[in-house]
Amino acid sequence: MPTVNINVNGQDLSAEVEERQLLVHFLRDDMDLTGTHVGCDTSQCGACVVHLEGKAVKSCTMLAVQANGKNITTIEGIADGDNLHPVQEAFRDHHGLQCGFCTPGMIMAAIDIINRKPNLDEKIVREELEGNLCRCTGYQNIVKSILAAANK
């Protein structure tokens, strides 16, 4: 089995993986980072979104070997100790989640949106959330949370 060297949440890791192992299973099953979820397993829902070199990607649609030599950030890696990341805090303050299943992917997508788009408005946020599905909230408070975080 090939060996991969991946920096996950600031930590250099070295591990043997099967070629066909998806990045999301490497993170959840091998690294015990179960914050990244599998919703659809068909590249539609965005529950599995992590950052690869700072950019949002679907970890169910990527092989662990493709991440060799790269930096990965998951939902576990964004808070600063006990201090939540501003986007996490905004989701808490604005009730941006209900069951919470979509939330890790939503937050990783939201950070990427805020990084890329300097002047966010509601229309842009809704368009940018194209790849993230939520079955509970109706998106209203997710959009509100992202706009609040962007304006902080």
């Binding site: 066909r20 068909t42 590249s43």
Partner: protein, 265 residues
Amino acid sequence: MYNFIYEKVNTIKEVEKLLSENEETKILAGGQTLIPTMKQRLASPSTLIDISGIDELNFINDNGNSVTIGSTVTHHEVSSSDIVMNKIPSLASLAEGIGDPHVRNMGTIGGSIANNDPTADYPTACLSLNAKIKTNNREINAEDFFIGLFETALEENEIVVSIEFNIPKKSSYMKFPNPASRYAMAGVYVSVFDDAVNVAVTGASENGVFKWTEMEEALSSNLSLENAKNIKLSSDGVMSDIHADSAYRANLVDIMALRAVENLI
């Protein structure tokens, strides 16, 4: 997904060598089509060659009259490239309309055209902008490249190196995205050059992307909404599925063409 051998390479030469050694080898670019297909066991290559690290495939060049884009350039990189935004803004906005941000961060232009999905966006840009597709062996005109559903002129051992798009006087791409997948249910790319107006259509035909010659003739004589309104796409040979039957889809194509023309006058 069945297992396979994974090879990450740094040069086109290495790709050629690996492709010639084994028929069951496939190229992996962004993986946004290939990995879902392999998960469903609709493809089971014995070897995957990851080309995403090949520097000679990753560039965007402004050549004055044309723009050349390397095959591993991602949709996000195309949509945010200053060169593309300035020279062919409709191409940048086409790229921005593909799938969702996460797909755009991984998916590549070369992967999209090599796959030639009948509802993909980039093939219209290639036809409408008279693109030349450069492979490791030769140069293929877009009109000869897209052959049918998921079928291209690429040979077994051939890889897409880059795509050269001519810069039009003006151009516009309008698509009606499938509300779930964002693939085109109808997409029309209209480009105006000094000597011609080119119109390419995706998402509609049972044979994949095509040039809509009746519309081209009508618009070449005079680029006007009236002329565009006089031309209707026949629903013969137009795809029919749970999302849209052929008459509805043909009508969507008419409407997308009108919207594209409206943008240009």
